[in-house]
């Protein structure tokens, strides 16, 4: 700011006035530039932190369910769900490798009432499609 201070002859009123206006403008421009520089830096830091947080959350989502859940239990809900793009990251992280058209991985699992074992390939071998609903009570 001091660089812009200099004496202007008193008698040159109009010139002084014009110079003052110019100096004020330069001062303001300089201040604006500093403000924007600082704001840009702050926004930049926030953006970097946000991207890093997204990366960390994505990495956590790719861990086994229990490990993911243990971490999530410690993260405040609004941060993960409102500040970070939780759903977008989740859809990618948990997409899985199986694609439509792929052979369905076979399994042989016991029925809940323990009356029998269900094998997927045995069902489809009978020419029946199968709906699989994965889930739990909680």
């Amino acid at each position: 700011m001091r660089a812009y201070r200099f004496r202007v002859p008193v008698q040159e009123n109009s010139l002084r006035k014009r110079l003052n206006i110019r100096m004020a403008f330069a001062h303001r421009t300089f201040a604006n530039r500093r403000f924007f520089k600082r704001a840009f830096r702050v926004v930049g830091v926030i953006a970097v932190v946000w991207v890093l947080a997204c990366g960390v959350l994505y990495d956590i989502m790719r861990r086994p369910p229990e490990a993911f859940a243990r971490v999530m239990a410690r993260i405040p809900g609004p941060f993960a769900f409102l500040v970070l793009p939780f759903e977008t990251l989740w859809m990618r992280a948990r997409a899985g490798h199986l694609q439509v058209g792929d052979p369905a991985p076979d399994f042989s699992l016991i029925k809940l009432d323990k009356s029998a074992t269900v094998q997927l390939s045995a069902l489809t071998a009978q020419g029946r499609p199968a709906v699989l609903i994965f889930g739990s009570y909680t």
């Binding site: 499609p129 699989l132 609903i133 889930g135 739990s136």
Partner: protein
Amino acid sequence: MVYITEAHPSDVWQMQSNIKDEVVFASPKDDEERALVAGACVRKLGIQIPAVLDEFGNSTEQAYTGWPDRLYLIDATGHVAYKSKPGPFGFKSEELGAALARLVN
């Protein structure tokens, strides 16, 4: 229904909505405990479709990336005809219904 690892067990990631609904279960420690929680689920929700238990090593869940919930349709040749996006956001029964209608018709 393939009963898999709990989504929100009380000792790991408790949800307020589950407390409200009185669905509070700690993580099952073995197949037997998983079967007990699954049994409670089937009884209280009145699930009538066949239910199977994923083994405690979660091999089926891992093969299908089924946690916390997900829908699949397997066609009669044993291929994946429909795969929902991961739940809970991608768990859309109407999409499954449409896929099933396409497959049958």
